[in-house]
Symmetry: C2
Subunit: 245 residues, 2 copies
DNA sequence: CGGCACCTTGAACTTTATCAACCCCGGTGG
DNA sequence: CCACCGGGGTTGATAAAGTTCAAGGTGCCG
């Protein structure tokens, strides 16, 4: 058992205990680490989709650009996340994937995933759990976009980030770094960057969020959760996958 | 090979050729058909999630109700759709599922799905494809909610329904039944029902959509697609899953 | 020290929501 | 067979939320 365990393994172990063989299988996906500078395109919308990637370090995102030039960011990827799962059923990339900070990522071809399906029943279920958790994250974001007002959208997004980051590093406390410009935040939340700025000021006035540059501090997590209508159950349940009987 | 083939099998065959054994395995999920009247709750948000369902006949939907009483409809389920895949990684239902029209549906426990993972490599991949296609549908709807104006949202939704219905029954032509009230349409698209009404009138004035009661006619599909910014590639690619080499 | 990217603020405007009245139509009971 | 009832759809007036444009500020990097 190696001392340095990949983020993906850590993330997957959240859903199930993994055997040594499973861990080796997973690790084998990260065989080709690639270092990328900030704002580098990983793959572009429309390109043919025969690979996935694991993000080992850094932040990345996927986005979709509309005819009129406006943009929506679909996912924020953190270390340990699998990128491109959604495009498994499609032969071309539906969205552009781009690094946000400096990143290390490992691409691997589509069929390595199906090889895993063939080799490990347990990992199959965990991959399924990961894919469906990604779906739940999208659903929460849909609710954000469809039915919440700006201040709740931002509050909800901050809660989500806090929860997802906290899952990877315990004792994170009530502050964290959020390396996103207000324009990116706007494109995540379907708002204009101007309105994001105003709304942040308003959250500050209400003592819900403090922020300096890219650091976020949350003075009272409970009040923020309340304001956001946040529930973390959608992020998946720990050790959900067990052997039956 | 039986003459009456279930909708789910038809839907799955879209992604891959299935062996007789696979078809039997799939059919075995639909062992407990249940007839439900319109507007009957299948399961409720918060209830413990240890089952999935296949919709054999009728229309159903899932929705999520916010603290303030507003609602967002997350999915519209058509015959052949699998309901509850998203909650595979979670131990409780995140959304309420309810019939829209009279429905026939077959519930089955969670572990029947994992049994299939153990028994059929090919079906595993198809289930994965189905789950990821559902994700892509959510993403398109996210873009709708986040970045399109009301008339494009409605146009896009109509395009999606047209495409999904057309996949199940060829020669559908340019009209179809849409058994949804304007209030439901509003909750799908994150608008108020009043605004849906106004927007429909506007689409009618622009000769993009005709509608009487629950029947929709689309005089010029290409113009509607154009107006919606619709691309059907997100609905998954036919026969994407093949044996390698 | 200067420049540039990003953030902030203000003012005018657009889109959508809300409220309320009305209408249309289908179903029911007299 | 007709009058009434009720739910959903439509319309208008007004309000709220968010966008756009433009100008100015702030802080970081060379």
């Amino acid at each position: 058992m190696s001392a340095t365990r990949s983020c993906m393994v850590r993330q997957f172990q959240y859903y199930a205990d993994l055997s040594e063989a499973d861990i080796e299988l997973l690790d084998s996906l990260e065989y080709s680490p690639e270092k990328l500078p900030p704002e580098r395109v990983v793959w572009r919308e429309g390109g043919s989709a025969n690979e996935l990637a694991v993000l080992s370090e850094g932040w990345a995102c996927s986005y979709y650009t509309l005819e009129d030039g406006s943009r929506l960011i679909l996912d924020i990827y953190l270390p340990g996340d699998v990128i491109g799962l959604r495009e498994f059923a499609t032969s071309e990339h539906l969205a552009t994937v781009e690094t946000i900070t400096e990143c290390t990522l490992c691409r691997f071809p589509h069929h390595h995933l199906t090889d895993i399906f063939a080799k490990s029943f347990r990992l199959t279920r965990v991959f399924f759990a990961v894919a469906t958790t990604q779906q739940s994250i999208l659903v929460e974001r849909m609710i954000n976009l469809g039915r919440r007002k700006a201040s709740s959208r931002i509050a909800h997004f901050l809660c989500e980030m806090h929860a997802r980051l906290g899952r990877m590093n315990e004792h994170m406390g009530n502050q964290f770094r959020l390396p996103l410009s207000q324009e990116m935040l706007a494109d995540i939340m379907g708002l204009s960057s101007v309105h994001v700025s105003r709304t942040f000021s308003q959250l500050y006035d209400d003592h819900l969020v403090e922020r300096s540059r890219h650091n976020i501090r949350i003075p009272d997590m409970d009040r923020l959760i309340e304001h956001a209508g946040f529930s973390n159950s959608y992020l998946g349940r720990q050790s959900i996958i067990r052997d039956r009987a």
